[in-house]
């Protein structure tokens, strides 16, 4: 549907876009991608390595707490930080009051968007980086050190390259999500492809131009996916579990590690959570009623069902590929990740409109159905959107299952199901679980698809956020936003208990 839009090019609009809009879009989107890529890699890798390999006070707490920002929607983080740090915010106001003319760079700037999006998205890198460092074990490092490398050299020459495919996989998710983000960039009034797509579609009323822009966006996403694939192709190997490698940090270093983790945790979760709580007490307490159980329950069940479905689907596809590795299944699966790079509203319309047309056809045959707004359509749209999130961890986990293990099991007389149940599932259950937790949290936060495709009465927490923010009542939106965070915490918590084992 997106690519078909090129048949109807409106020259007048393209003229306008080319001269006034596109240059800014490429520059803004380019900076955003580079900035977020660098910062999330730095945050995710450093925090992942510290909590996986080093021993310092608070490590146990940080290892799960550093995932918490994942439950915080990026647009909420954006709003909170603009509120706190803008010219009229409390920090700058008090700085002015004590007479320090503020040297603080403006928050509503390119740097501000990059920092906020990175704080919201680094957990995707952190999660996989940490798992990679955990599973490396001692052997590789010992070999490196026996060859005379220092600890630092061993990290850069051995640990990091070994973890690279994991980190890149997480980074790809981060960048696809960055491309698709609308809420946070709109709050910053930072123009990207996503905002231009919305503008063309709903303000210039040119759906075709919007879809053409969307296809450029998908082109960028494809390019990023290709890059990830190319760098990974050179690294096909399996890791072996062995004793955990660990470094004891002393005094100054332990303090530095502690402070770094505490700083990121505070910025990504604690400060915004406190701000949300204070808004709830000042503005939104009256909104809290028994209906919230229903909102939370619907959010959680949609998220739970989608998580189960997508994890099963990812497993199934991975199996198909393992059993029959051909080009078609590979590219189909690969392309299906693109949904994650599409802005939610575009995807929502892309699913709902064809389904509505199809229902019309069915109705003209006398079959009274409305397929475009229902749980089935909702799950389908979520599935397309979040498939990339589910396949990645399953993919990585399967790398651990070497073909020789299959052969060994088979040669001992184990059948297909026995191999699956006794060998594969236990080995990849961590990956499956990660996939489900990630999808769960993402569906909890998802707004545009839920809005357009939900059946009557299926209001969720994200829908409540919309009701409040649609007329700018951000403080009242704190209540559903915090409820999303709390419900989303559950799988994050379980996830970490699991990887801790």
């Amino acid at each position: 549907m997106v690519f078909a839009s090129w048949r109807l090019v409106s020259p007048e609009n393209w003229q306008h876009l080319r001269s006034w809009v596109l240059p800014e879009l490429f520059i803004n989107t380019g900076w955003l991608i580079v900035g977020v890529a660098l910062l999330t890699t730095l945050l995710g890798t450093s925090l992942g390595w510290l909590t996986a390999v080093c021993r310092f006070p608070g490590r146990r707490l940080f290892s799960w707490a550093l995932l918490l920002p994942m439950a915080m929607p990026a647009y909420v983080l954006a709003f909170v930080y603009i509120g706190l740090l803008d010219f009229s915010g409390p920090l700058q106001t008090s700085l002015r009051e004590i007479g320090i003319s503020s040297l603080m760079p403006p928050i509503r700037s390119r740097g501000g968007v990059i920092i906020v999006l990175s704080l919201a998205l680094y957990p995707y890198v952190y999660l996989v980086a940490r798992q990679a460092f955990l599973s490396q074990g001692t052997r590789a490092i010992e070999v490196a050190q026996s060859l005379g490398m220092s600890r630092r050299q061993a990290f850069y020459k051995v640990s990091l390259p070994l973890a690279a495919p994991w980190i890149l996989g997480g980074l790809l998710l981060v960048l696809l999500e960055t491309l698709a983000d609308f809420g946070a960039v709109a709050t910053f009034n930072y123009n990207t492809f996503t905002t231009a797509i919305y503008k063309s579609w709903f303000d210039l009323r040119e759906p075709n131009t919007a879809l053409q822009l969307a296809s450029v966006l998908l082109g960028i996403a494809l390019l990023l996916m290709l890059l990830e694939q190319l760098t990974r192709r050179r690294m096909r190997f399996s890791l072996t579990h062995s004793n955990r490698y660990s470094i004891d940090l002393k005094r100054g270093r332990a303090l530095a590690a502690f402070s770094w983790c505490a700083l990121i945790l505070a910025l990504g979760f604690v400060i915004p959570a406190i701000q949300l709580l204070s808004w709830i007490f000042s503005d939104a307490l009256a909104d809290l009623d028994s209906r919230y159980w229903g909102f939370a329950l619907r959010s959680a069940s949609l998220a739970g069902i989608t998580a189960l479905l997508l994890a099963s689907l990812a497993l199934l596809l991975r199996y198909c590929r393992r059993l029959a590795p051909n080009q078609i299944s590979r590219s189909a699966e690969w392309l299906s990740r693109l949904g994650y790079a599409l802005p939610g509203t575009v995807l929502a319309i892309g699913v709902a409109v064809p389904l509505a047309r199809f229902s019309n056809t069915l109705q003209s045959w006398g079959i009274p159905v409305m397929l475009n707004a229902g749980i089935g359509a909702l799950l389908l749209a979520y599935g397309i959107r979040f498939f990339a999130v589910a396949i990645n961890p399953v993919d990585k986990a399967m790398l651990n299952v070497t073909p020789s293990m299959d052969e060994a099991a088979r040669s001992l007389g184990a059948g297909f199901w026995r191999v699956l149940g006794r060998i594969h599932l236990p080995m990849i259950s961590g990956g499956l679980f990660t996939a489900m937790a990630l999808v769960f949290v993402d569906v909890m936060k998802e707004m545009p698809i839920t809005l357009l495709v939900r059946p009557f009465g299926w209001d969720t927490l994200a829908v409540r956020v919309f009701e409040m923010t649609s007329e700018g009542e951000w403080e009242r939106a704190a209540l559903p936003a915090l409820a999303i965070v709390i419900t989303g915490l559950l799988p994050v918590f379980l996830l970490v208990r699991r990887t801790e084992k």
Binding site: H16, W20, I82, D86, F87, S88, T93, P106, R108, A186, F188, N189, T195, Y198, K199, F202, D203, L204, R205, E206, P207, I305, L308, L309, S312, T345, I349, A352, A356, S359, N360, Q363, P368, V369, M370, N372, A373, G374, I375, G376, A377, L379, W417, R418, G421, R422, L425, P426, L452, R454, P455, F456, V463, F466, E467, M468, S470, E471, G472, W474
Partner: protein, 343 residues
């Protein structure tokens, strides 16, 4: 279940998932006959209390779904003649104009509505009617500006406001409608000069919402901005001594730019009579006070007084250009603002 071998556990989970999704999919059935279905871009907390009251008074149940106007219109269009929706409620005349222009609304022949809603607040072909009025005017620092210094929208392009103006983003439909009205009034060339002047006078990059722009004035970053009055009302309710005042723009010229939230009956509705009744009730004295008052807007029905907090701002001369004209020129306004560098 946790003692089962993993393979059987997986099979169970898969089966349960399949069964559950099967049941859920079959739930998406067409709505029954006696109720009205509303698609609304006006948010839930503003419409539900009214719908509840209508249902209590007339016995007609109302089912509704909320979303932004853009996606809702796409949905309505795709569902075509089979849409379950009878009524469309949305904010901004541009959206209403687009719904009518795409043939999604049917003309309503209702003497009650025509009598209740002034002609500049409804579609000339009666396909939609404004139900509440939102005035977009100036708010200024009462500490740094005397009301006598202000004139209106075009005057904010004057160099004397250099570094003293704050604006919300041009991506918000309210600003698009305002600029569309200026185009209708002054023509495209002069309007582009005005908008370029605004951009030159900006104290800081445009904000994502009206409230932030007013907070910037309080903090001293700028002195004047353009907002919808209900945002000012909300701020006033929270901080009665806020050092800001409202200024009615262009009172010596064409008048304050007004926009509407409103509704119409969908072209595909099979219950047009019942749907019209709902709109007539929403335009009635009984419903208007609450429809507008809950969001500190002005009632569209001139026979109804606004709530006290709104009344305190005094009366104003509205620009009588039909709000539909702003809808027609909206795309031009968007392009014009791009050219003028208004982000």
């Amino acid at each position: 279940m946790f003692d089962l071998p993993v393979s059987r556990r997986l099979a169970l989970v898969l089966a349960a998932t399949a069964a559950l999704s099967g049941t859920l999919i079959s739930c998406g059935k067409a709505p029954s006959d006696d109720k009205l279905v509303v698609y609304s871009a006006r948010n839930e907390q503003l419409i539900k209390p009214l719908f509840d009251r209508y249902t209590a008074e007339t016995g007609t149940p109302i089912e509704f779904v909320t979303d932004s106007a853009g996606p809702l219109l796409q949905r309505l269009q795709a569902e075509g003649s089979n849409t379950p929706a009878d009524v469309l409620l949305t904010v901004d005349a541009g959206n209403l104009w687009q719904a009518a222009d795409s043939g999604l609304l049917q003309p309503i022949n209702s003497a009650v509505l025509k009598q209740a809603i002034p002609s500049h607040l409804r579609d000339p072909e009666n396909r939609w009617f404004g139900l509440s009025v939102r005035a977009r005017t100036l708010v200024y620092s009462s500490e740094r500006i005397q009301p006598g210094e202000l004139l209106g929208y075009a005057d904010l392009a004057h160099p004397k406001w250099q570094g003293r103006l704050c604006l919300r983003t041009s991506k918000k439909v309210y600003n698009q409608s305002l600029v569309a009205m200026l185009i209708a009034q002054y023509g495209e060339k002069s309007t582009e000069q005005i908008v370029k002047g605004w951009v030159k006078n900006l104290a800081t990059a445009p904000f994502s919402n009206d409230t932030k722009a007013m907070e910037a004035i309080i903090a001293g970053q700028c002195d004047v901005t353009i907002v919808n009055t209900y945002y000012f009302g909300r701020l006033q309710a929270k901080q009665p001594d806020v050092p800001l005042s409202l200024f009615w723009a262009d009172q010596r010229g064409e008048g304050v730019h007004v926009n509407v939230s409103g509704g119409g009956v969908t072209a595909a509705s099979k219950k047009a009579a019942a749907a019209t009744k709902l709109l007539e009730w929403l335009a009635s004295a009984e419903a208007q006070q609450r429809f507008a008052g809950d969001n500190l807007e002005f009632p569209a029905n001139p026979a109804v007084e606004p709530v006290a907090a709104v009344k305190a701002w005094g009366s104003y001369k509205p620009n009588l250009i039909n709000v539909a004209d702003a809808g027609k020129l909206q795309a031009d306004a968007v392009k014009l603002m791009d050219r003028a560098g208004y982000k």
